[in-house]
């Protein structure tokens, strides 16, 4: 009984490892999530490098050649994180922060930037894709390019250079009823802005969802192309340390972390080999006892032995 439970647990562990390998996380803005809310398409199109710790930005010798993208942050920024980003900007780096209802304001406030995400959804009942919560924003260009937002918001601030505004028909839906009420701010509202910081620059976008797989080329919008142009020739880095993680992703990461430790990896291998050996041995033991006896006593009559066996089994 105990042995069978152990075997079952071990097999489950193996099964979980296989599931973790083949079933990617479905977290919002995850660069390894290939479903509609992930960033795999964007990540492969700009060759994104994930950054697990913002302090790593300090190690970059030529910050001016890099863009750090913080898309849809959901976890709080520590003072070390903020200092690392500030240092990166001082050295000429480019920060692209795209957020709506996350923790982006905490970073902007920490960096001393006079800009904030409103935190209420932006609605446009006219310039939109299918639904008023998916507004379209004109970003200019020779061919009149548009960005498609998906439950985005707007940016407020005084010392900003506005790069894109929503239409004059848009408004902030403070009470989430989908209709414009008298106290709700109306468009044009800033949805993309830039501000200089040190030798670097911050680009603020009021919707992280413009980069998700399902929004890159939707409704004639140029979300993907626009993001590529913002990055330009710089190396693109993506902060994954502040993404909100589901328990599955956390467990998956922990598992991969453990498997990266040689002792664990080899230990698991050892256990599996032992298990395989044990199964082989058990199977050998389960060979017909008559065969075993006949190996040892080839002169005995197999028929008599068989009869004896049957009789004993009928006792």
């Amino acid at each position: 009984m105990r042995r069978e439970i152990s075997l079952g647990t071990l097999l489950s562990l193996l099964l979980i490892i296989i599931i973790f390998f083949y079933y990617p996380p479905n977290d919002d803005f995850s660069p390894i999530n290939p479903s509609w809310n992930g960033l795999t398409k964007f990540a492969s199109s700009v060759n994104l490098t994930p950054v697990n710790d913002l302090s790593d930005l300090r190690k970059l010798s030529n910050a001016e050649n890099y863009t750090i993208m913080i898309i849809g942050p959901g976890e709080k920024f520590s003072s070390e994180d903020i200092e690392a980003v500030r240092d990166f900007l001082e050295r000429g780096g480019l920060l692209l922060i795209a957020d709506d209802f996350g923790t982006g304001n905490q970073l902007l406030s920490g960096l001393g930037v006079d800009a904030r995400f409103y935190g209420s959804p932006l609605v446009d009942p006219l310039f939109m894709y299918k639904n008023r919560y998916l507004p379209k924003v004109f970003i200019g260009g020779r061919d009149g390019a548009y960005l498609c937002l998906n439950y985005g918001t707007a940016i407020e601030g005084s010392s900003l250079k506005s790069l894109a505004n929503s239409s004059s028909f848009s408004f902030l839906d403070l009470n989430m009823n989908g209709e414009h009420d008298p106290n709700e701010p109306t468009g044009p509202l800033t949805v993309m802005a830039s501000v200089t910081s040190g030798r670097g620059k911050i680009i603020i976008i009021a919707d992280p969802s413009i980069a998700i797989n399902s929004m890159l080329d939707i409704g004639g919008c140029s979300n993907g192309r626009f993001l590529k142009e913002v990055i330009g020739g710089r190396n693109a880095l993506l902060d994954v340390s502040h993404l909100k993680k589901s328990p599955y992703t956390s467990a998956r990461e922990e598992m991969f972390y453990l498997l990266n430790i040689s002792e664990v990896r080899y230990g698991l291998l050892l256990v599996l080999i032992l298990l395989a050996l044990s199964i082989i041995r058990e199977r050998r033991e389960k060979r017909d006892p008559l065969e075993e006896i006949l190996v040892r006593h080839p002169d005995w009559d197999p028929k008599i032995l068989n009869k004896l066996k049957e009789e004993i089994e009928h006792v």
């Binding site: 009984m1 069978e4 439970i5 079952g8 647990t9 097999l11 489950s12 099964l15 979980i16 599931i19 479905n26 977290d27 919002d28 509609w36 809310n37 959901g74 209802f101 009942p125 006219l126 310039f127 939109m128 894709y129 299918k130 639904n131 008023r132 998916l134 548009y146 998906n150 439950y151 028909f169 989430m176 969802s209 399902s214 929004m215 939707i218 409704g219 004639g220 589901s246 328990p247 599955y248 467990a251 040689s262 080899y266 291998l269 050892l270 080999i273 050996l277 033991e285 060979r287 006892p289 075993e292 006896i293 190996v295 006593h297 005995w300 032995l305 004896l308 004993i312 089994e313 006792v315």
Partner: protein
């Protein structure tokens, strides 16, 4: 096995449950655009109405391009495909209408300009074009009204200021009528304008402008504006009762040999009565030309060294501004000669510009000269020795030599191996004694050595060494495992081949313990299980009851007596059918159990 599968199923279900739990935030950060519901077009009517009212407001104030771009943007207005064609048709007609009105305005403006110039023939031509365009606008307006009725019916759009178009057409029609009246039977009188100016002027000086505006017959034209342009400066003068205009203008600091002055008359008050006229003059501009000559004492230099700039500037006493390597220096050229020592900063190798300039100063013109200096750094020779293989957890040494030509150069040497960075200052040769990590991924590894010379005239050198890292724990564990497995398998084989004594009775049949219903057999095998668990000695399939009792007897010690008795009683029952020994056997079993538990 069934229990194993149950455990697997339970853990799999738990994993799926965990996987399906998402991070919960009150407002959704996004929705799947494929699954999102379509907007009801009727809910958009008030916004569409406001949108078209804005377009017509812009058209009404002749901001045609803004109105057009707004209509063009309306392709981004989302509408279900079943009614989209209605809006597209309406937009197309609206664009057409705006274009007709725009062209009508353009033709009217051209007609007015031609009328000012007295070109009546051409003015007539453009007037007719304007009339034609306005007629087209009128026709399009009717179609537009039909399309509007349809979008009002289907989408509930209500454009309050649609009559703006009617007003525009009416206004343009009146303007055209007025122009037609002016052109009918009128002819303009040619005019003449004169301009008196000196032939030469100094830069920055005050220039007096004077001239007369008359008809071709010599009659003065009073109170009319004359536009005067000198270079990029424009001034307007008004003629007096004798047709004379006069005024003053400052000559710009342009430091060019010539400047053009133009006086032009464009009728305003007497539009249609007088023709326009124009006169121009070229004036020679006077200024003092500055000159600068300079040279470097060397065409190339290394960082940290000095070069001397020597030169001559005229007129003497001018300040020469020197711009080099991002720095600006000023030097006065006393008696026209200047010397400036320049230290080469620590910059990368390449050609650099040294710009010398005399800034413009009143009547003195600017001048500039560019000198080129090649900055170079000497190359360091670097040779590295490192082991081809590195075993995990052991020390290894990376050695090297640095030389700059024939001499040794003090340098800071930085080594980056296995994610660890170390540095030292070396003069000629260096050695790093490092320890490799105990565990890690087996495979080729890079070790980077960067040499930063402490003298500015040498180039930074970098060297990449490839070595092979072996993590000994992994291979050792696998080797041990394989060895143990082989040894165990071999021992098994030897045991099978051992000769065993032939028993008198063939009692070697194994009974399946799991299917025991017989109480005697169950009792015996409970005892066997107990011994197996206690001693770890399994009852193999080919053992007879006695063989097993013998095997375990030595290790059971005193307890072997009870097990032997139990075995004999079971044998008697199994082969002799003696059931009476069961109670005795139970007694032996309970004693055995107590002894083994102790």
């Amino acid at each position: 096995m069934r229990i194993s599968l149950l455990v697997v199923a339970f853990i799999a279900l738990a994993s799926i449950a965990i996987a399906s739990v998402g991070a919960g935030i009150e407002i959704p950060r996004h929705v799947n655009p494929v699954e999102v519901s379509e907007e009801n077009p009727l809910s958009q009517s008030q916004f569409l109405s406001a949108f078209y009212e804005e377009v017509l407001r812009l058209t009404g104030v002749s901001y045609y391009s803004n109105a057009t771009s707004l209509v063009r943007n309306s392709k981004e207005v989302y509408l279900p495909s079943s009614i989209r064609y209605l809006i597209e048709r309406f937009n197309g007609l609206l664009m057409q209408e705006i274009e007709h009105l725009n062209l009508t305005d353009s033709e009217i403006n051209i007609t007015l300009n031609l009328l000012r110039e007295g070109n009546f023939k051409e003015a007539y031509k453009y007037l007719n074009k304007a009339i034609l365009k306005l007629n087209e606008a009128n026709i399009t307006r009717n179609e537009l009204l039909d399309a509007y009725k349809e979008i009002r019916r289907r989408l509930g759009v209500n454009i309050a200021n649609l009559n703006e178009i009617d007003l525009l057409i009416k206004n343009r029609s009146l303007s055209l009528k007025e122009l037609k009246g002016k052109l009918r039977g009128e002819s303009a009188v040619p005019t003449d304008i004169s301009l008196e100016l000196p032939k030469r002027v100094w830069v920055g000086s005050q220039l007096t402008v004077k001239g007369v505006l008359t008809t071709i017959n010599g009659d003065p034209i009073p109170s009319e504006k004359v536009i005067f342009k000198l270079g990029n400066i424009t001034k307007t003068f008004v003629t007096d009762g004798n047709g004379i205009y006069r005024g003053e203008i400052k000559v710009p600091y342009i430091y060019r040999p010539n400047i053009t002055a133009v006086a032009e008359y464009l009728p305003e008050k007497y539009l249609g009565k007088f023709e326009s006229s124009r006169v121009n003059r070229t004036l020679e501009v006077l200024y003092i030309q500055s000159n600068i000559y300079a040279s470097l004492n060397a065409s190339s230099a290394v960082p940290g060294s000095h070069v001397m700039i020597r030169g001559h500037a005229s007129p003497s006493g001018q300040v020469v501004v020197v711009r080099a390597f991002g720095l600006v220096k000023r030097i006065r050229s006393d008696e026209g000669v200047f010397h400036l020592p320049l230290e080469i900063p620590s910059v990368k190798g390449g050609y650099y510009d040294i710009i010398l300039r005399i800034e413009p100063n009143g009547t003195i013109s600017p001048s500039e000269r560019v000198l080129y200096l090649m900055v170079y750094r000497k190359q360091l020779n670097l040779s590295i020795e490192s082991p081809p293989f590195i075993i995990g957890g052991l020390n290894f040494t990376v050695k090297g030599r640095i030389s700059g030509g024939n001499s040794s150069v003090p340098c800071r040497v930085i080594i980056d191996a296995f994610g660890e960075e170390r540095s030292l200052v070396a003069n000629g040769s260096f050695a790093f004694r490092l320890k490799s990590p105990l565990i890690g991924l087996v495979g080729p590894k890079n070790i980077t050595i960067t040499v930063e010379p402490l003298l500015p005239n040498y180039e930074v050198a970098s060297h990449l060494v490839r070595t092979y890292y072996i993590d000994w724990i992994g291979p050792l564990a696998i080797t041990l495992l394989v060895t143990i497995s082989i040894l165990r398998l071999r021992r098994e084989r030897v045991r099978i081949m051992e000769p065993t004594p032939i028993p008198s009775v063939p009692q070697k049949i194994r009974i399946r313990r799991s299917s025991l219903r017989d109480p005697f057999a169950r009792l015996y095998f409970s005892a066997v299980n107990m011994i197996e668990r206690s001693l770890g000695m399994k009852m193999r399939a080919h053992y007879t009851l006695r063989e097993y009792a013998e095997k375990v007897g030595r290790r059971l010690g005193n307890a072997s007596f009870f097990f032997n008795r139990l075995t004999l009683l079971y044998e008697a029952y199994l082969y002799g059918g003696m059931k009476s020994g069961l109670e005795k056997a139970k007694g032996y079993y309970s004693v055995l159990k107590k002894v083994l538990k102790l």
